[in-house]
Symmetry: C2
Subunit: 230 residues, 2 copies
Amino acid sequence: MSLQEIKVIAFDADDTLWVNETIFRRAEEELCDLLKEFMPKEEAAKVLFDIEMKNLPLYGYGIKPFILSLIEAALTITEGKMSISIVEKLLEKGKQMLKEPVELIDGIDHALNVLSKKYRLVMATKGDLLDQERKLIKSGLEKYFHHIEIVSDKTEKQYQKLVKQLDINVNEFLMVGNSLKSDILPVLNIGAHAFHIPFHTTWAHEMIDDEINHPKFKSFTQATELLDVL
Amino acid sequence: MSLQEIKVIAFDADDTLWVNETIFRRAEEELCDLLKEFMPKEEAAKVLFDIEMKNLPLYGYGIKPFILSLIEAALTITEGKMSISIVEKLLEKGKQMLKEPVELIDGIDHALNVLSKKYRLVMATKGDLLDQERKLIKSGLEKYFHHIEIVSDKTEKQYQKLVKQLDINVNEFLMVGNSLKSDILPVLNIGAHAFHIPFHTTWAHEMIDDEINHPKFKSFTQATELLDVL
């Protein structure tokens, strides 16, 4: 295997380019705190997670699905006995989340700047289209990307489609991201390169236990470390 | 101008390929009916529309934004005095809408079948990504489309980007859709062809008063009439 063959680098967005998971976990914290008279916090977090998982195939990823699931979780946790003002607070919370300023991951601006001179860069994410476009513009990183690919889920099939659309061979494709489940495993499975830069917080849905040992895989702790090998 | 120059035909999705607006209007009806003791129906519909418009830049288009706005409208209409069971009903309504079977527009299957043999067809819509992918698969129309383009809004800039991605000249592009505002005017403005097939119901947000008289514009009442000229 050779890193020389890489032509296109795709970057995941949430928690690879900018902080995301922290915002969701903070909102979850707040809800559980709001409802602690009805249910212990940890138990409430579990109810929310189960509802999110049940709704995922129907709602998809992003802030709007999350808020709908938060409201449903509040109804479940309080058995319908909550005050209507909590619904109001959750709607407001959702709008706040959508307006949240973008906080870049350390070193990512510099890394993209250097890499964009040598490779074609694309952004590949499974979030909500409007949301991700907004964050990309707010981030100031738009100029480094040749194009943006937003998919409903990150599966082998979706990656195969992406590589085909990019008009390159699969071994010329490198994916960089924080989620082993979404950004790394399906990419290695189709024969492309995948580099992992973990974020300190991972959503339970994105966690896997496997240890990866693959010739086309590397792991880093900082975005700028990419520059040592690419 | 000549129709012979057309190479790619883009079809809008909602209310061009399948029925959509009817489903939203029915849900709106139901909400206004549910809350009629708090406010006359017509006035309630106006509150909902205003809230949808205010939320549009933040939420975007689709069923999830609609449900969040329905809940917010219910809170406004009842001044927070509604029963929590209404929130439950609205969440349930949203899930129903997302699961609704796809009802094809008359003649569209035949029209796409014939046209797909002569032109490259793409689907271009501003709905929600997951939603639209799901509807396309349920519709059975996927096989006719070369690819699917989902944009956050249908502006001249977005159409220019689409034409560039398709790697054709702007006069080789034809858009077919039911909304003068989204599918026709911005397309004519960039110099491409645009054909209008109105749907019986139009969302107030998509209505315009202009009468269109343009060499690259045509209007039809039925999808199959496209075959008379293409």
